[in-house]
Assembly symmetry: C2
Homo-oligomer: 315 residues x 2
């Protein structure tokens, strides 16, 4: 049983591959995620898995990380905020089709496990992973195991309110971490700034089209030394740091691993966030854990999905 | 080994007693906590423990819950915000004097363990305990064990920011749960209201002395049906609920147990907090855990301190 079939199903991309126990990803396939019809997602999964070449490989099972709220015990994807795939028992469906063990978890949980076993969190015991993309997901590892909570909903760190009365999140809460420090928030701030500064590098990189302005361009401009963009990232880092400090004050982990698209901002985001975190940690600033970007890039989720299989099949 | 010597050392009171494995507290003593001299605290502890009658009892060890940041592994009280007792290795000191095993932990951790083993949390697996007193402490139990974190500082839930830019806490953070929903915050709001409403019941209960107005009088007035006080508690409940929702979204526990002085407000505080919590929980309001007051009242800490001994001595 030296391989797992692994899939990372996000709002944008659906990836499928084979992963060996050492975390080597083979036969990677990537498709745009069908947005509106869950059956299309399932058909695509079938096809992608059936295209894999299993020749000479022992397969331990199928692991999936899905961008939504997942009931791990039952294998049900309960709620996907960013594409249509609600209340589907993916475990049952895939078990019937492929006759092997299937494990389904939240994609941030999978990323946490991936980084813990194969990436930046190797050797740590208590790890928190934040996926900084359009939204903000979270995965919590305690005493070397994923902590899923009582109803399989732990780790929704993006929906922790850090500014009561602040901007509304898609989840309905006001001023949560995702609404303030998520990718969508940066997109919005970027457009506001570009609107005011038509001579800015951000606006030029967007070829003068306000609808093209987004967080990714802010990062691009900041990396080219643009001061305005750098300031935007710093403001963003401040709010992120409030969230990081809350995590430290509640969970006191060894390490916080940041994954997702925003990692491209590198130290322009990370350094100011770490500086502020230090000031907000309770009682003693030497108590700050390591805060690093993930080592697996966009593969954290798919490698973690494989780890979901291995952690069960070795038991 | 059927008894533990237990002590709960808070900023106001120091309690000492003998507790049996079933959680029966005997020979309870209570003293005002010496405020400024750590040596007086230690002398008082010596005297109180030596006054206990051990006749015919097997003592498994000494357990202590202290109102501050405690390094559990080393038994060091690192930082006590509300009385003077910083950087003292209480474990070493008491082990030398009494020649038996000594366990020192944060008082909210002890209360969490007390409620889990002997109180409102019996039979639960993942429990969060909030001590709602002058400040707000927290204790986290995961998979039936206290979760202390990597540097023994987990559970500082009172210092989680819920309103960036909000009022300053003693810890230096702005808008944390303690600064907004702690007892001191209610005291302050009560004085502001009493100042404006000299004909209010709160002001009359304080015999017209503004310096006597505090949160306890708000509770007393609200319990007598005073609408103004009830409104104050409702506003307080709103902020508390933001903190509770953050706990649920991050930790997804079976139960949240509220202990400490604010419990006296009963349903006038709890019901509005639960109503708002329901709205703030991610994705599904049926996912709300039980939120209850502790069953042990002010004895949660001392019973939990005893449980610190029993959980180790049975291993």
């Amino acid at each position: 049983m030296n391989y797992a079939i692994a899939s990372d199903i996000g709002a944008t991309n659906l990836r499928v591959g084979l992963v060996d126990t050492k975390g080597v990803l083979e036969q990677k396939q990537e498709y745009p995620t069908p947005q509106n019809d869950p059956n299309e997602v399932i058909s695509l999964l079938y096809k992608a898995i059936e295209r894999l070449d299993f020749n000479g490989k022992n397969i331990a099972g199928i692991g999936l990380g899905v961008g939504g709220l997942v009931n791990y015990e039952q294998g049900i994807v309960e709620y996907t905020p960013n594409f249509s795939f609600n209340n589907i028992n993916l475990k049952d469906i895939l078990t019937k089709r492929f006759k092997m063990p299937v494990y389904v978890d939240n994609d941030a949980n999978a990323a946490a496990l991936g980084e813990k076993i194969y990436g930046a969190g190797k050797g740590t015991k208590n790890l928190v992973c934040l996926t900084l993309g359009t939204g903000i997901g979270g995965g919590i590892i305690i005493n070397d195991s994923l902590y899923r909570g009582t109803t399989s909903a732990a780790g929704e760190i993006g929906h922790m309110t850090i500014q009561t009365g602040g901007p509304l999140c898609g989840c309905g809460n006001d001023g949560d971490l995702e609404a303030l420090a998520g990718g969508r928030a940066l997109d919005k701030e970027a457009r506001e700034v570009a609107q005011k500064h038509k001579d800015s590098l951000i606006f030029r990189l967007a070829e003068g089209k306000i609808e093209r302005v987004n967080g990714a361009l802010v990062t691009k401009a900041a990396l080219q030394g643009d001061e305005l963009s750098n300031e935007l990232l710093k403001e963003h880092a401040k709010l992120l740091a409030v969230g990081l400090a809350n995590i430290v004050n509640i969970l006191d982990p060894d390490i916080i691993v940041l994954t997702g698209g925003m990692a491209e901002a590198g130290n322009l985001l990370l350094q100011p966030a770490k500086d502020i975190l230090k000031k907000r940690v309770f009682a003693d600033s030497t108590r700050v854990p390591k805060v690093v970007y993930g080592a697996l890039g966009p593969d954290a989720g798919i490698l973690g999905a494989a780890a979901l299989v291995f952690e069960q099949s070795v038991k």
